[in-house]
Amino acid sequence: MGTPTNDSRREFLKNLSWAGGGLLLGFQWDSVEASMPSLLNVRQATAPAFNSYLAIAANGQVTIFSPNPELGQNIMTSFAQIVAEELDADWKQVRVEQAPLDAKRFDRQLTGGSGAIPHSWTRLRKAGASARYLLVGAAAGRWGVPAQECTTEAGFVHHKPSKRKAGYGELAEAAAALSLPADIPLKDRKDFKIIGKPVKNVAGRDIVTGKGIFGLDVYREGMVHAVVQHPPAFGTKLKSFDASAAKAMPGVINVVSFKNNVAVVARSTWEALQARKAIHIEYEKEAAIEHSTDHDRWMQEMLDSDKATVRRRNGDVTAAFQSAAKVVQAEYQSPFLAHNPMEPMNFFADVRSNGVELIGPTQTPANARAQVSKLVGMPEDKITLQLTRLGGGFGRRLRNDYVLDAAELSMILQKPVKVVWTREDDMTGGVYRPAVRYRFRAALDKDGNLIGYHLRGAGINADNSTREDNFPSGAVEHLLIESIDHKSPITTGAWRAPTTNFLAYAEQSFLDEVAAAAGKDPVQFRLDLLAKARQQPVGAVKYNIERMEAVIRKAAEVSGWGKKKGVAQGFSVYFSHASYVAQVAEVTMRGGKPSLSRVYAAADCGQVVNLSGSRQQVMGAIVDGLGHAMYGRISFKEGKAQQANFHQYRLIRMKEIPEVEVVFVENDFDPTGLGEPALPPTGGAVANAIFGATGIRLYQQPFADHSLFKG
C-alpha cells in the first residue's frame, strides 16, 4: 500500500461536523475524471450517483447507512458485513441505519429482482477498503512509518515493528484530510472474517423488544388517520355516495372523495374503520366485469389460437413433431395470488405548501417520490422520503398506490395523514400475480432424445408469461416459445420471483413427464440435456451450464437421490435472478394421503455473504413456494376478489412445513441475490414427489383442491 495521494479520480466526501468530530465517508464510484475535485463537502455533492456511506465516530463506532428498503431479505445486515469486512471493523462496534431516499448519494435504491447484492457488492467493498486505506494513512503519518508496514484488525491500525496501535475513532479526523488513489486493493476472499459467516440480523434486538420500526408505527403530532374505500370490483367506478351518517360518527373529522375513492379521516384508526362501514356508496360499470370462469375459458382459447407472440425460435419445431417417435403434451394452470405481506399497506404523508414529507414502507422509494411529485405538482427536491422497515413486500410494495392515497389525502385536508389499508382492502384491491396457463409439447426420437420443445403461455395481464431463454432452451434443436395475453382491468404485478414462481413448477413437472416417457431418470435426463447444451448449443445459452450441473449433482448427493426406500423423491432445478437452486422433495403416504416430509436444497448464489440470513432465505422461500402451491388462490366473481382475509385465503402454517436442509455450492463467483431464487423450484419438486408416491400428476394450483388431499 502506498501513501495516500491527491491524484484521486473519485470523489471522497467528508463532513467533520458529524457525530462529534468523527469521519463521515461517502464514495462515488463513477469514473469521474481527474478534473473533478478530490475533496468535497458532502453538502456540495451534485453528482448523480453516490453509492455508499459510512461514518466513524470519535469513539470508534462505525455507522453504516443502508440505502435499500429492508423487507426481511436482511439487506441491512449483509450490506454492513461487506463494508465492515473490507474496513476491518470490529463488528461489535458496527451500527446500521436505514438511509433515507437520496438519489445524490445512492443509486438503485430499491428492493426487487434479488438485485441489491450483485449490484452493490463491489461498491460496498470499495467503500470499506477506501476508508481502511485512509485510516492506515493517518496512522502511518502520525507515527512517521511507511503505510506498508501497518496492518488493520477489528477497528485498529497496528504497526507491529514498533508495537504501536491506534483505534479507528482516534484516527478518523486525520484520515478525513487525506485523499485516495485511483485503485484501492480489495481483500483476498480467503481472508474474509465477516463475509460468509452466520451473522445475526442487525435489527434483531429492535424486533424482539417490539420497537416501532415499521410504517404502521409512525405517529406524528397533529396526524390524522385515514382509511380509503376503493371500488370493490375491478371494472367499476364511483357513481355516488352518501356519507351523512358516517360524518356524524364519533371521532370522524371528514369524509372526502378523490378519483374513484371515498376516504374517512378520523382521529383514530378504529373510528375511521367504523365510519367507513356507515357510508352508502354506489358504483357503476367502467370496463369489463370479469369472472374466473371467463379467465379459464379465455386462457384455453388463447392456447388454441394462432396469435401468440414468438419469444424464441430455434430450428423447425413443426418438422420435429412430425418426425417424432413419441409426443408428450400437458397443460398447467395457476390462479391469481395476493402478496399478503404481514404489514398491511400504509404510508404517512404531510403535504405542505413548501414541501412534502413522506414516511413509510415501499420497495421503490424513488418511484414513490416521482409519482407524488407529479400528483402534488412540486419538484422532487422539495419532497423527502424516509424509509421505515417493511413488514414484508413480495413485490406488493413495488407499486405505490397507497403512497399516493396518503399524499392526495394530505393535500386535500392540509394535514399530516397516515393511511392504513385493512387486510381486506389489500387482498381485494389488487395487485396480484397474474393467472396463467401453459401448454407444453415435447417431441422424442426413437432413442428417447428430446428433439422438439414447444411452450405456449397464456395469461391474464401476464405480458410475457415465459422465460424464453431459460433451460431447456439451448439444449433442444427445435424449440418454440410463445406467449399470449388477455388485457384485464384486474391489476397485476410482480410477485416474488415473477413468472418463474409458477413457470418453474410447470416446466419442471413437465420435464419429469418427458423423462418418464423417454425412460430416463429425471436427474440424468436433465444432466444429459445440459451436456447437449455444452457440446452442441442451439442458439444463445443464457445460463451457466456448469453451475446448473453443480447444483443438480449436489442436490442429488445430499438427498441420496434414487437410493432411498419407502419414500418418493421429486426433483427440480431452476435458474432465476442469477442464482441456481436444485431441490429434492420427499413424500410418504400417511392415511392414504401424500405427506411432504423433507426438502433438500442445493443453492449456488456465488459467495455467500451471510450464512445465517442466506439459509433463512432459502428455507423461507421453500415454505413460501410450498404454501402458495398448496393453498394460494384469488378468484373473481363479477370483478370482485372472492377472498378477502386469511379465513378465505389460506397461508401455510407451522404444522404444514417439511424439514428443510440447505447446502450452498462453494465457488469463486461474486454473490448473486437470494430473496427469490429458492422459491421457483419448490412446486415442481413437491409435485414430482407426489407423482412418485401416488402416480397422480398435479396440473393445477392450488394442489389442495385435488381429490388427493380431500376427505
Binding site: Q73, I207, V208, G212, Y219, Q617, L651, M654
Partner: protein, 157 residues
C-alpha cells in the same frame, strides 16, 4: 364516550374510546404501544397477540370494555430489559426475517412456555399454529421456542 382504565405493563392507563374499540387500537393509537401489530383484524394471524392475565389473546378481537381489571402485557412489557428467555432465544437463533409478526409469535410462545415449560416439538407446533409468518420463518420460530424452553429449565435447575 366512556373513559376506560386498564392496566398495561403494570401501569394504569386511560383511554377515552367507544366500548367496542379493540384493545389493539387502544394500545397503538392511544397508548402508542406500537409493538403489538395489526395483521388481519379477525384473529387469524396472531400478529396482535398480547397477554391478558398471562394468557395469550388476540387484541384485535378483544373490546376495551371486556378488559376490565385484567392485566394486559404487551411485547414492551414482557421483560424489563428485553431479556425474557423467549426474546434471548429469538436473538440467538436469529429468528426474524421482516420481523412484523414476531412480537405476536413471542407473546404466544411466552404464554405457552409458562403453561408448558418442557414441551415436545409437536406441542410447540400445536401452540404456534395460530401465528402466521408470511416470510416462512417457521423452522427458526420452532427452534427459538425449543431454545427458550431450555433456558427456562436451566433457570429453574
Amino acid at each position: 364516550m366512556p373513559v376506560y382504565s386498564i392496566k398495561v405493563n403494570g401501569k394504569l392507563q386511560q383511554a377515552d374510546v367507544a366500548a367496542d374499540t379493540p384493545l389493539l387500537w387502544v394500545l397503538r393509537d392511544h397508548l402508542r404501544l406500537t409493538g403489538t401489530k395489526y395483521g388481519c383484524g379477525i384473529g387469524q394471524c396472531g400478529a396482535c397477540t398480547v397477554h391478558l392475565d398471562g394468557n395469550a389473546v388476540r387484541s384485535c378481537l378483544l373490546p376495551i370494555s371486556a378488559v376490565g381489571k385484567g392485566l394486559v402485557t404487551t411485547i414492551e412489557g414482557l421483560s424489563e430489559k428485553g431479556d425474557h428467555p423467549v426474546q434471548l432465544a429469538w436473538e440467538e437463533v436469529d429468528v426474524p426475517q421482516c420481523g412484523y409478526c414476531q412480537a405476536g409469535q413471542i407473546m404466544t410462545a411466552a404464554a405457552f412456555l409458562k403453561r408448558t415449560p418442557n414441551p415436545s416439538q409437536q406441542q410447540v407446533m400445536d401452540a404456534m399454529q395460530g401465528n402466521l409468518c408470511r416470510c416462512g420463518a417457521y423452522h427458526r420460530i420452532r427452534e427459538g421456542v425449543m431454545a427458550a424452553a431450555k433456558k427456562v429449565a436451566a433457570k429453574k435447575a
